[in-house]
């Protein structure tokens, strides 16, 4: 196969044509969809600080021209060992570099049950019709903003997981996306569909192959948890600190279904993520766990949304952030309860641990409630590391760094306790431990 996309290709009309030419094997409905989204992208402006959602997240230094649509010929890159799969007996795995799949494996017995797990690019050519329904559902709106439009027009990578009715997958599935080289792009869509009564655990993580190259991730994640189904989903964002990360993520949780969604956000120069959960059927349940650790000049902005559309649903969100240096986090959380959402039980909380006086954390919780019989609570705290605790630990023979590491680990313990997958807890603890530096005296 010849590659129409060269190193000099940009995200412009010619670059888009080259991308289409390269993906000529895709179903017609998808090509058409890409074209519509590309037109919308060309007509739209980037969000600016005038938009409420972007007021605290400045992207004026983001230049799309510094990045190129990914060439379609995958090159396997020996990256570091993935963190989340360490010591785990996996049922399947997918790896990609710069948005192109380099590896895809799934146990034969899982395949035999009708499960589909692999690269979305391959799946759209093999299971195009079934996937068209998932695309048409537009769990994430392709016109939400200019990033969503660009993603819908130009995605190359991503993962699909489809679990048929009543099928339970015991072994976790794992996917890792890597960015390699300056100007590299990871433009991905992840689609997860669990049919009625299905069960699965999906671990996804990202990494950069070096610390210096500026990369771009622009992704969407669309999850549908069918009636009575159970999904445990972990997403660890561990790019290098020069990567721009933009994401729209949404899960729709059906009647009596359960979702446990854990997010780890450690990397990126700037991240702007919309993470939404819709409780769409009665008695649905969602637990959302977030762990963020920032340093240097990182800026991570997470907008979370818990939408109670049906009665008797429970949602419980806990985000814990620790900040070093002059890094900044922004969390805006919204609990929305529709009129139909009677007997809702919803909770959201964000705690921040400031490890430096120059770090800054903004927490903006919100409630929008139209039902009259609900229990909705929210909270947020921000605190400095307690000097007397450090002093005490040092008097017992620990170094300052060890003391800080212990305090940070203790701070995260509450959210770690909620994570039911051992390897994930360990991997997050490990990754954070590696990033803890000595605290400046202040």
């Amino acid at each position: 196969m010849t590659t129409a996309i060269s190193n000099t290709t940009k995200f412009d009309a010619a670059g888009f044509e080259a991308l289409l030419a390269e993906r000529a094997g895709e179903p017609a409905w998808l090509t058409e969809r890409r074209k519509v989204s590309w037109q919308a992208f060309e007509a739209a402006n980037w969000p600016s600080s005038k938009d409420e959602e972007w007021m605290r997240t400045d992207i004026r230094l983001f230049k799309l021209d510094a990045f190129k649509p990914t060439a379609g010929v995958p090159v396997a890159i020996a990256g570091e060992q993935p963190l989340l799969s360490h010591g785990v007996d996996l049922g399947g795995r997918v790896e990609s570099v710069n948005g192109a799949a380099t590896l895809s494996e799934l146990d034969g017995e899982i395949i035999a049950k009708g499960v589909v797990f692999g690269s979305l690019s391959e799946a759209v050519t093999q299971h195009g019709d079934r996937l068209q329904k998932a695309f048409d559902r537009e769990v994430v709106s392709p016109t939400y903003d200019r990033f969503a439009m660009l993603n819908d027009a130009c995605w190359t990578g991503g993962v699909v997981l489809y679990v048929p009715k009543g099928v339970r997958i015991e072994k976790p599935l794992h996917a890792v996306s890597r960015l390699s080289g300056a100007g590299a792009t990871d433009m991905t869509k992840t689609i997860v569909v669990l049919e009625e009564g299905a069960e699965a655990t999906l671990l996804m993580e990202s990494a950069s192959t070096d610390a210096e190259s500026a990369g771009l991730h622009n992704g969407t994640i669309e999850i549908v948890v069918g009636r009575g189904a159970k999904l445990r989903y972990v997403n660890l964002q561990n790019w290098n600190n020069r990567t721009w990360h933009f994401a729209h993520q949404k899960a729709v949780v059906g009647k009596e279904a359960q979702l446990q969604w854990t997010i780890g956000a450690l990397g990126a120069r700037l991240a702007k993520v919309n993470q939404r959960v819709a409780l769409a059927g009665a008695d649905a349940e969602a637990q959302v766990n977030g762990v963020m650790f920032t340093q240097g000049k990182q800026h991570l902005c997470y907008n979370t949304h818990q939408h109670h559309e049906a009665p008797y649903c429970r949602s419980d969100l806990l985000y814990k952030n620790a900040l070093q240096d002059s890094s900044r986090t922004v969390w805006r959380g919204m609990i929305q309860v529709d009129e139909a959402g009677q007997r809702t039980d919803a909770y959201q909380r964000n705690d921040n641990l400031m490890l430096a006086a120059t770090a800054r954390a903004d927490s903006i919780p919100g409630l929008e409630i139209e039902a009259d019989d609900v229990r909705c609570t929210h909270g947020s705290t921000s605190g400095r590391v307690d000097d007397t605790m450090i002093y005490y630990a040092m008097s017992r023979g620990y170094t300052r760094q060890e003391a800080v590491r212990m305090i940070v680990t203790g701070f995260f313990q509450q959210v770690f306790d909620r994570i039911t997958i051992d390897s994930v807890r360990e991997a997050l603890g490990e990754a954070i431990g590696q990033r803890v530096q000595d605290l400046p005296n202040q």
Partner: protein, 108 residues
């Protein structure tokens, strides 16, 4: 170690004007006013407003720029917060002109 980094030819920056420039991954407001160049963090210390988008008050004493968001003024020479709602100074950086090029050195 920070060093002087070129941000563009002097002709790119009219007098008076304020422009957002990128210096070593940071947003810097580069201001050209009454024949002098000034560089400040492009981040208002009140609530992160983009200073380079705000109005210049180069004739005042001291010369200042105002945040477009809620109007806090900052001194061009020192970065001092001159009016509410900002209370903390913003960082100022060194600027020089050499061979028609403007260069900025970040204060660390």
């Amino acid at each position: 170690m920070s060093e002087f980094i070129p941000v563009g030819p002097i002709t790119d920056f009219a007098d008076p004007s304020s422009t957002l420039v990128e210096v070593d991954d940071e947003s810097v407001a580069l201001i050209h006013a009454a024949g002098s160049f000034y560089a400040l963090d492009d981040v208002c210390t009140h609530d992160g407003g983009p200073l380079s988008d705000g109005p210049l008050h180069e004739d005042e004493n001291p010369p200042a720029i105002a945040c477009p968001r809620h109007g806090a003024k900052f001194a061009l020479t020192t970065g001092a917060a001159l009016t509410m709602p900002a209370t903390q100074p913003t960082r100022v950086h060194e600027v020089k002109v050499e061979d028609g090029q403007v260069l900025v050195k970040l204060t660390v």
